[in-house]
């Protein structure tokens, strides 16, 4: 085919690189991706750096510094489609835990020369700064979902990444519910599908890696956890994970913990 291959760029902001690794982890499919997309900018994988504009930008990481807040605007200007990948880019990530406290205190504790640190008060999602065309959830993202999103982009169709609960995936796998049969607290009912219910499949409660589902009733789930014997502190800490700053999780930790839940010690 003489068709021009769309140019792909992969960007990193405040993150652990795990989601970019999911892309490299695609192995077989990665060759196909390279065949259909011109991997123009992907510093994690290649030193080849072709100038923009780009047809598709995958953005990993959250915005935590004034410099990055500026850089994401540039990325947006250079990208026809901008897709965020992972919990950091979509809800601020684990580093958004600092949003619940005073970031200057952390800086003073962690760094020998705090005056060199230039940082924002909060870690925030990419969509808090620029328009985003699609958000792919997960900490880390699921590689099959990533390939699905890229295939959908290449073929001009809607990706199949349902926004319903993890429970549906759990039941499609015919798992026995750990919450009902074992009394294990599980975030599955309020969590966005995508992982295939990995943790309940291995008899653990869901950790909420994919953030809140489309209509997450965290208030009702918290009440049930507490009825089952979980402490208020455990309940708050469960929401204060990789997606702590996502609205449905954040509001519940503030309410249940009365603003003090996570930092009792």
């Amino acid at each position: 085919m003489a068709k021009r291959r769309p140019k792909l760029a992969v960007w990193k902001f405040a993150s652990c690189d795990g989601c970019q690794l999911s892309l490299l982890d695609c192995e077989d499919e990665l060759l196909a991706v390279a065949e259909h997309l011109d991997i123009a900018y992907f510093p994690e994988a290649s030193s080849r750096m072709v100038k923009g504009p780009y047809d598709l930008s995958l953005v990993e990481g959250s915005i935590t510094t004034p410099h990055d807040a500026e850089r994401i605007r540039r990325v947006r200007r250079e990208s026809r489609r901008l897709v965020t990948i992972g919990a950091c880019a979509t809800s601020g990530g684990i580093q958004a835990l600092r949003n619940f406290a005073d970031h200057r205190e952390f800086i003073n504790i962690v760094y020998a020369r705090p005056e060199y640190i230039s940082t924002l008060e909060q870690s925030t999602a990419i969509s808090d700064h620029v328009d985003v065309d699609f958000e792919l959830r997960g900490c880390p993202i699921d590689k099959h979902q990533l390939i699905e999103v890229v295939s959908a982009y290449l073929n001009n169709r809607k990706p199949n990444t349902p926004a319903h609960s993890v429970c549906i995936e759990c039941k499609l796998r015919a798992n026995v519910c750990v919450m009902v049969a074992k009394g294990t607290p599980c975030l599955g009912p309020v969590t966005h599908a995508g992982c295939g219910a990995i943790c309940p499949t291995y008899l653990r409660g869901c950790y909420g890696c994919f953030g809140p589902q489309e209509t997450a009733n965290t208030q009702s789930l918290s009440a049930q956890w507490i009825k089952m014997g979980a402490s208020e502190k455990e309940t708050v800490e469960a929401y204060r994970g990789f997606n702590a700053w996502a609205e449905a999780f954040r509001s519940e930790t503030v309410k249940v913990g009365n603003g003090e839940g996570g930092d009792g010690e």
């Binding site: 499919e29 196909a32 991706v33 065949e35 259909h36 390939i147 699905e148 890229v150 295939s151 959908a152 290449l154 073929n155 169709r157 199949n160 349902p162 926004a163 319903h164 609960s165 429970c167 549906i168 039941k171 499609l172 015919a174 798992n175 026995v176 519910c177 919450m179 009902v180 049969a181 074992k182 009394g183 599980c186 599955g188 009912p189 309020v190 008899l203 589902q213 489309e214 209509t215 997450a216 009733n217 208030q219 009702s220 789930l221 009440a223 049930q224």
Partner: protein
């Protein structure tokens, strides 16, 4: 006392071990034999190869949002009720590919999916479950477009029913007239008599094929005593349910719900409902599916998959411009009014068989019978 040869002609007794022979006989006839097994702390349905696979001496404690296995003081093989799985996982699979498509020289080539020639034999289906299968038959086979996937799996089904001798904590089949004794839809029906000195099953054939298979087992004619004991055990299950507060008064239920679409209770239950969809997934009559079309990166290959869907998702009611049922309230109301009211308009029967799964497997224990009592005004404390 009835004498054998009257209305109960054809009742036989097989010894406990002979049930193993039944599994062998069905296997030898080419059936995939499916029955209850213990897995991850619950009794689920899976392949069974011998009597040893069945859950021995176990029962299940069930309540809203709670399920625990417990030891019984006998060696009963069917001393529990229904678990998180239902037979629909075999007849109406959770995920299935419908077809594939390829780019060909002159356009698109569709590759149809071949339906497997599976023959299932279900061991231990309960009366409520037979009613659920009959309901899915109406939904999936009786319409203008019978479902080929369901039909291929349903056609050669062999059913060994078990009459319930113990009711579960969330069972309410007596309210829905669906049990606990199997009355229809089986090839063989068993009543277990777990007497430690003489563990046996009363067997009743329901079809000619059932009678033929029974003929391959070593059995004796049932005595009036056997029959009395079996009837007593079923009566015990009935009594347990009648003493349970968890009953559902189904009189005029269609009108009750349709006349109360704006009842305050819907908002009350929506406060508790997680819109997680577990109730619809475990319900043996819920049949809704969605299709997902996928392509590979090249765009030369496409597939269409079908999977269970639920009216608790927003996608379920998505039309141009957005979702029709945005509020969790409207989604819970859809589920309950469909099960108990509009199902009757659509299919001529209720969509609920009283199996209790949606109560037990709801993570927050929302109880459909309690919601009905609240709408009937039989529960205090419901915000007016």
């Amino acid at each position: 006392m009835k004498s054998a040869g009257d209305r109960n002609a054809g009742l036989s007794i097989i010894e406990r071990e002979e049930l193993g022979t039944l599994i062998d006989v069905l296997g030898a006839r080419g059936y995939q034999v499916i029955g209850p097994v213990v897995s991850d702390g619950a009794i689920v349905y899976d392949r069974i190869a011998s009597l040893a696979d069945l859950p021995e001496g176990l029962t299940d404690e069930q309540d809203g949002g709670r399920y625990r296995l417990k030891q019984r003081d006998d060696r009963a093989l069917f001393g529990y009720v229904v678990g998180p799985h239902s037979w629909k996982k075999y007849l109406h699979p959770p995920r299935i590919r419908l077809f594939r498509a390829e780019c060909a020289e002159n356009g698109l080539r569709i590759i149809d999916e071949e339906q497997p020639q599976e023959k299932f034999a279900f061991i231990g289906a309960r009366s409520c479950e037979l009613h659920a299968i009959a309901i899915q038959d109406r939904v999936l086979l009786d319409g203008v477009y019978p479902d080929a996937v369901y039909r291929a799996r349903r056609e050669n089904l062999f059913v060994v029913a078990v009459n319930c001798g113990t009711a579960g904590g969330t069972c309410f089949c007596t309210s829905m007239n669906t049990g606990p004794k199997a009355t229809t839809g089986y090839d063989l029906a068993l009543t277990e008599i777990p007497d430690p000195d003489n563990h046996r099953f009363l067997v009743e054939p329901g079809t000619a094929l059932g009678a033929e298979i029974l003929g391959a087992l070593s059995s004796r004619e049932a005595t009036p005593d056997d029959e009395t004991i079996a009837e007593q055990s079923i009566a015990r299950a009935v009594e347990q349910m009648e003493n349970n507060t968890r009953r559902m008064d189904a009189t005029g239920i269609r009108e009750l719900l349709l006349d109360n679409l704006e009842h305050a209770r819907w908002d009350d239950v929506a406060q508790r409902c997680l819109t997680c969809a577990n109730c619809t997934m475990v319900c043996p009559t819920c049949f809704c599916t969605t299709v997902e079309d996928t392509t590979d990166l090249t765009g030369d290959h496409a597939e269409r998959w079908r999977r269970w869907d639920s009216c608790f998702t927003q996608d379920f009611s998505y039309i141009h411009g957005g979702s029709v049922r945005v509020s969790p309230m409207s989604r819970y109301r859809q589920w309950m009014t469909h099960k108990l009211a509009t199902w009757i308009d659509q299919f001529g029967v209720s969509g609920c068989v009283g199996c209790g799964r949606c109560i037990t497997w709801c993570p927050v224990g929302i109880d459909i019978t309690e919601e009905i009592r609240a709408i009937r005004g039989q529960i205090n404390g419901c915000k007016a």
